[in-house]
């Protein structure tokens, strides 16, 4: 990132979603004098019988914003790549009773791989996105830093990025608060200044998650039981539930509310327990797979750092022990609630996102919690 060239000689492809964040990212780069190109990615085909897809509206916004900023815009289709690399994985994980994180996979395989390659084919020096994260050069490497807006920080989803990818990346709004991003958009009169933030998983959007999933995976209703075998009711299919979930169980009666504490795939049983702080929800360590680090520098076999087990969670102090085959054992200083297989575990050293992996197994005092999966 130590650039000596004039910005006008540096071509930056901005991945534009039609939202305010990527709009402002493109706008700021253009203001700084870069040779900016806006590209809209189409990853999902949800064309209705009239040939209209929800991506249309977003692309219309990309066109408006790019014309306002004065940059060329194009679209690129990664439906096949997304299906093969992200959606297939997403379904496989649900089938295995886990709760996958498609956004992590999308960043790893699509945005910062297929899309980055596409950008490079267009002669781009960098790929920029509207993520709330920062990159900075330190000791000859690019480090990934948390976004300044703590509430919006998206490094959790970027944990799988490698040094090679980070070297080609720009995050033009990572140093800004969301509020400021909106202000910039409004001052510049960008068409997306007041557009609502998108919520949920990109391909599902605002639709009903249950209904969406049932289109792809057969739902197999079964029993809800306590860990000691008492039948508490029926569930609609294990894939609809995640560890720690309270809503949608439909168990009434006296006492504290009920929570999902685990699943038994073989018996098709959903385990439930009473109370937010139900003991069964707590664990002391986990085993992670697909461990990946943002730095290429050698790491000690054991080290202390902090970790996030879910998006928008406070960090917790942990000890990491690296195993072969991109696996690691991560031990918590304080027992953690609702650690969920399939979700990402992301490691930090202060501001720096070190990398992360996928939660595979969960342990309590060295013993595997088989009911979690």
């Amino acid at each position: 990132m130590t650039e000596t060239r004039d910005p006008s000689q540096i071509r930056v492809v901005v991945g534009m979603s039609g939202g305010v964040d990527s709009s402002v990212a493109a706008y700021l780069l253009k203001q700084q004098g870069y040779d900016v190109i806006g590209i809209f990615m189409k990853n999902w085909d949800d064309t209705d019988e009239n040939g209209v897809c929800t991506a249309t509206e977003d692309y219309e916004d990309v066109i408006k914003v790019c014309n306002q900023i004065g940059i060329p815009y194009y679209a690129v289709n990664f439906e096949k790549e997304y299906w093969d690399k992200v959606f297939t994985y997403f379904l496989e994980e649900y089938k295995a009773g886990r709760t996958p994180n498609p956004d992590v996979m999308c960043n790893k395989e699509i945005k910062f791989k297929a899309f980055l390659e596409h950008a490079l084919k267009l002669g781009a020096d960098y790929l920029a996105t509207g993520h709330y994260a920062r990159v900075e050069e330190r000791d000859g490497e690019v480090v990934l830093l948390r976004g300044v807006d703590r509430n919006k920080d998206q490094t959790y989803f970027l944990n799988q990025l490698t040094q090679e990818q980070l070297k080609k990346v720009m995050f033009p709004i990572g140093h800004l608060e969301k509020k400021k991003v909106r202000e910039i958009a409004e001052e510049a009169g960008l068409a997306t200044a007041k557009k609502k933030d998108s919520t949920g998983i990109c391909f599902i959007g605002e639709r009903n998650f249950k209904e969406f999933l049932s289109n792809y995976l057969p739902a197999q209703p079964g029993n809800m039981e306590t860990l000691d075998g008492k039948v508490m009711g029926k569930h609609d299919g294990l894939m609809y539930y995640t560890i720690g979930q309270r809503h949608g169980l439909g168990i009434g009666g006296a006492g504290e509310p009920w929570f999902v504490v685990g699943k038994d795939l073989k018996r098709n049983v959903l385990y439930v327990g009473q109370g937010f702080h139900n003991e069964a929800l707590y664990s002391t360590s986990l085993k992670a797979i697909n461990m990946s680090f943002t730095s290429n520098k050698p790491k000690p076999k054991k080290f202390a750092c902090t970790a996030k087990f879910r998006y928008r969670q406070e960090d917790s102090p942990v000890e990491v022990e690296l195993l072969d085959d991109h696996r690691a054992v991560i031990t918590f200083q304080v027992p953690q609630r609702a650690i969920t297989p399939g979700q990402a575990v992301v490691l930090y050293d202060g501001e720096v996102c070190l990398g992360g992996g996928t939660i595979d197994e969960v342990f309590k005092n060295g013993e595997k919690l088989t009911y979690v999966g």
């Binding site: 190109i37 809209f40 189409k42 064309t47 040939g51 209209v52 897809c53 991506a55 249309t56 977003d58 692309y59 990309v62 066109i63 060329p72 815009y73 194009y74 679209a75 690129v76 289709n77 596409h118 490079l120 084919k121 267009l122 002669g123």
Partner: protein, 383 residues
């Protein structure tokens, strides 16, 4: 940077003589052709003169020309107009798999309304066989709609032979001549077509106007109702200024047709020669003999249209491929699918270059050189 517009099949620049003629018309002609005063009569006179020019260009009578808003309206009006008028005589329609969407989607709409549509297949060159029309023809066939020349690969269909075949059949014969008009000699009586749609903006006229030729007594129900314009076949105040410009564009096109054909053949030769010299591997999509001279559709093995087109654009070469979906990404061309089958590599690596007004041999040379440079750069970076 000098840029090269090689997308004349998408739309074309307005000819300076057309601009002059239209400016004059907009200054002087303001009346409504239906009005009974002098201003109206003047507008009517101007409109009728334009109509005559259009009629003469295809060997038709003035009364057989219906002004439309363009090719899409012409196709829609023809197809729905015939279907509505003849539905008591049959519900079978014959078309091809490579028509423009204005025809295909109209046919699909009619299928939903209970009509039966046969989509004739094409060979690898994009051509249908007259034999296949004959085989598909039934007693209850009411409409045969087959394009004159394809907008993507330029392949010309055996219109005259199909016209002959249909002479003694109740089926009405429509052809979408939007791409061919102005570059191919068209005489509706020689071709035996009953309906023919044409658009102005493809031949250096203004956008938003076209015409539908309708042979006298062809069964036809109007889609627009209102005033009695166009002999009640298309209500609405006539677009006189555009009609004047359109007529001028037609005059020029007729006058220069043979020169243009020779010029574009030369352009084609130059473009392909450059690719040869630069040792680019390529294949021309379309027919070797029956093709529209301004369209050159090339498949480049190892390339991907989405990044290819962007690179061409950034290097000032404006070309196209298939059609963009509503979210901007490029859908595989239904024409290439019909020619090569689903999943064929040509679907992902073919680019259409189309020639027109203002281009010189030197331009083509340079555009081809830039194209070759991009192909080299992109195929090298992949290896």
């Amino acid at each position: 940077m000098q840029t090269f517009y090689l997308d004349h099949a998408a739309t074309s620049p307005v000819h300076p003589e057309v601009i002059e003629k239209m400016t004059e018309a907009m200054t002087n002609v303001y009346g409504n052709p239906s009005s009974i005063h002098a201003a109206g009569r003047y507008a009517r006179k101007v409109l009728d003169e334009a109509r005559s020019i259009l009629a003469r260009s295809i060997g038709a009578k003035d009364t057989e020309i219906i002004f439309t808003s363009g090719g899409t309206e012409g196709d829609n009006t023809a197809i729905f107009g015939v279907a509505q008028a003849l539905k008591s005589k049959g519900k079978h329609i014959i078309t091809t798999a490579v028509e423009h969407h204005a025809v295909l989607h109209s046919c699909e709409q009619l299928e939903k309304a209970g009509f039966e549509v046969t989509y004739l297949p094409v060979d690898e060159t994009g051509r249908i066989s007259v034999e296949s029309v004959k085989e598909a023809l039934r007693e209850d066939t009411i409409l045969v709609t087959i394009m004159f020349g394809n907008n993507e690969v330029g392949t010309i269909q055996p219109i005259k032979e199909i016209g002959e075949l249909l002479k003694n059949h109740q089926a009405v014969f429509h052809t979408d001549a939007v791409q061919a008009y102005g570059l191919e000699k068209i005489d509706v009586n020689e071709l035996h077509v009953d309906l023919l749609s044409v658009s102005s903006h493809k031949i250096n006229g203004p956008k938003g106007i076209g015409f539908l030729y309708q042979r006298e007594k062809t069964p036809f129900t109007a889609t627009f109702y209102g005033g009695s314009q166009e002999r009640k076949r298309r209500a609405g105040t006539e677009n006189v200024h555009a009609a004047v410009g359109f007529a001028k564009a037609v005059e020029i096109a007729q006058r220069e047709m043979e020169t243009k054909r020779q010029t574009y053949l030369q352009f084609r030769k130059i473009f392909l020669e450059v690719l040869e010299q630069e040792q680019i591997s390529y294949k021309v999509n379309g027919h070797e003999e029956y093709f529209l001279k301004h369209i050159l559709n090339i498949s480049f093995p190892g390339m991907d249209v989405e990044s290819f087109l962007v690179n061409l654009d950034m290097d000032g070469v404006y070309a196209s491929s298939g059609s963009a979906c509503t979210a901007g990404s490029i859908d595989p061309s239904h024409v290439l699918v019909a020619m090569y089958g689903k999943g064929a590599p040509e679907l992902r690596n073919s680019i259409r270059f189309s020639f027109g007004l203002g281009l010189t041999e030197a331009d083509i040379q340079q555009a081809a050189e830039r194209t070759a440079r991009i192909v080299k750069r992109m195929t090298n970076s992949l290896n």
